[in-house]
């Protein structure tokens, strides 16, 4: 029995939520007295891989020989490593790639799978995992019956736990001639900070009155080093791109700070942000339901308040 942690990377860097998956796997292995090993597939420098030593992982298997990865290739390689390592729990980070590879792996190795897991198992034999459910409006505690399990950790839920150890890397090679899904191109959503794993988010809605007014939001986001987001109505009418839509039918996020400007706080929107650590609401309407779900609030006109807030943040940073 052992814990195997799939470590995702992008553009030569280990993803932040991958370090979170490592923290989870290391903690789980320690709690159950079994070894933990990481697995990282593709083109990435050893120097970068060693960063997992800062979150307590001592052993990593690097699989090279593959340029372009899709989740079919990843899950095939992982199923071999699961066998070789006698892994009983396989941990993935909460990206859509993690859910894809994790799902395929679960079928290959006949394991159970739970996604959006927020904490370590509450029991073992059988394993019980708590996951986010109802798009942020609840949690479900799931008991798995199979011997092996795939755990996909919800982004920014367990956190990255620092623990310095020496990390050793074993390199193996793999190849794949599966080209059933051919890659053509990547398109970036934004040159700014990517929303799904941003720690700070500035979001705005209909209160901004028109897409031409978003400059003040973007300036505030820049001053904070935050990603930008929006409510469903402004995404539906095309003021903002779809990938910014946060809510029950958009994306769910759990940043450290969610700053909502000119958003009333409908139940569907709240669902998408309910696990944010700190929520700040700025709205001209003191009756806006969002204030009930906020930690801090300002009742005021966004066009007046936001530029002054941006200035205050810039001077606080100096």
């Amino acid at each position: 029995m052992s814990v195997l942690i799939h470590i995702e990377h992008i553009n030569g860097n280990i993803k932040k939520n991958a370090l979170e998956a490592v923290s989870y796997g290391v903690a789980y292995a320690e709690k159950t007295g079994v070894p933990a090993k990481g697995i990282i597939i593709g083109n990435i420098a050893d120097e970068e891989i060693n960063k997992v030593g800062s979150v307590g992982l001592e052993k990593v298997v690097k699989v090279d020989g593959l340029d372009y990865l899709n989740h079919q290739k990843v899950s095939t390689i992982l199923s071999d490593v699961v066998k070789n390592e006698n892994a009983s729990s396989i941990i993935f980070c909460g990206s859509s790639e993690g859910k894809a590879s994790g799902s395929r792996l679960a079928i290959k190795i006949n394991s159970g799978i739970v996604t959006e897991v927020i904490e370590l198992p509450s029991s073992n034999n059988p394993i019980t995992l708590k996951k986010k459910a109802f798009s942020g409006k609840g949690f479900a505690n799931i008991e798995l019956t199979n011997e092996k399990n795939v755990i996909v950790v919800s982004t920014n839920s367990f956190g990255v736990h620092e623990k310095q150890v020496d990390c050793s890397i074993e390199t193996i090679s793999a190849s794949s001639d599966d080209d059933s899904l051919k890659h053509k191109s990547f398109n970036r959503d934004t040159e700014g900070i990517s929303l799904p794993d941003a720690e700070l988010v500035v979001s705005a809605g209909r209160g901004l009155k028109g897409s031409e007014n978003w400059g003040i939001i973007e300036e505030l986001a820049n001053a904070l080093g935050a990603a930008t987001a929006c409510s469903k109505p402004v995404s539906d009418i095309g003021w903002r791109p779809h990938h910014e839509h946060v809510g029950q039918t958009g994306i769910a996020i759990s940043p450290n700070l969610y700053l909502a400007i000119g958003i009333s706080g409908a139940i569907q929107h709240l669902a998408g942000v309910s696990s944010s650590k700190t929520i700040v609401v700025i709205n001209i309407d003191s009756e806006a339901p969002f204030f009930k779900a906020a930690d801090y609030g300002i009742v005021g006109d966004a066009f007046d308040v936001i530029p002054r807030l941006t200035a205050a943040i810039k001077s606080a940073k100096r």
Binding site: S96, T115, K137, G138, A140, S185, N187, T278, D295, L309
Partner: protein, 249 residues
């Protein structure tokens, strides 16, 4: 071309979620159940593709009990040609994927469209598990799909952006908003509703796949304590609180 659209039944988005029986059951009292919103984008996309490829059909499949027939009839009213219901409770994503795969093995399709995830359990597992069981590619979340002959050009969502891919049919995609626009979503009209009554809704037995998991209990999120209001003229105070009290900047 034969297109299969997989739909699930979920509580409507305005539902206040509560649990009963000592938090061991979802409280469905007074809850309106609807077609999973992500599945609706897939259903409209399937109809667009059908209209561009003469002789194509759109079949809807649902894993669930007879009490879910109304949402299946709604998908027929929206424009699907026929429907299949696998008569068993949908208890876990591996079980659901196996039931659907079992049906597809005897009834092949060129294109299978699911939702990227259901808004009740947020699994995001079914499209990929189904792809693995059938040995075909799966792209989910999917925000773009064009079919030309037997080739699919697919746009999938990845961290920080999207990826353009191509594959030879059959493929599976998991739809979300963006696969079609919200404004393009097909809704049932009177004619559709009338026609839906006579479109085939075949009920088939479960393949007997055992569940891999069970929900032992639920929890509700901890509500926030009272909001601290700051005067609009004193934004500096908010900045100080965020730095020193909340420690988020």
């Amino acid at each position: 071309m034969k297109i299969l659209v997989c739909i699930s039944s979920v509580p409507d988005t305005t539902t206040k979620i509560t649990f009963t029986n000592n938090n061991t059951e979802f409280n469905s009292n007074g809850v309106q159940f609807v077609i999973n919103p992500n599945d609706e984008f897939g259903l409209t996309k399937a109809l667009h593709i059908k209209e561009r490829n003469a002789g194509s059909t759109v079949t809807v499949i649902h894993v669930g009990p007879a009490s879910n027939d109304p949402i299946i009839r709604k998908s027929l009213a929206i424009g699907a040609d026929d429907a299949v219901r696998i008569d068993t409770m949908a208890n876990d994503p591996i079980q659901v994927a196996n039931e659907i795969a079992h049906y597809i093995k005897d009834n092949p399709f060129d294109l299978i469209i699911t939702g990227k995830e259901s808004i009740d359990y947020n699994g995001a597992v079914v499209p990929h598990a189904l792809g693995e069981l059938l040995g075909i590619p799966s792209v989910s979340p999917c925000i773009g799909l064009e079919i030309s002959g037997n080739e699919a050009t697919i746009t999938g969502v990845i961290d920080g952006g999207s990826e353009d891919l191509s594959a030879i049919l059959p493929v599976i995609v998991g739809g979300q908003k963006g696969l079609v626009e919200e404004s393009e979503l097909r809704i049932p009209n009177m004619r559709g509703i009338m026609q839906a009554r006579s479109k085939p809704l075949k009920v088939i037995a479960s393949c007997g796949f055992s569940d891999c998991q069970k929900i032992v209990s639920y929890d509700t999120p901890t509500p926030k304590s009272a909001c601290k209001l700051i005067d609009a003229n004193n934004v500096e105070e908010l900045v100080a609180l965020l730095q020193n009290e909340a420690k988020v900047i």
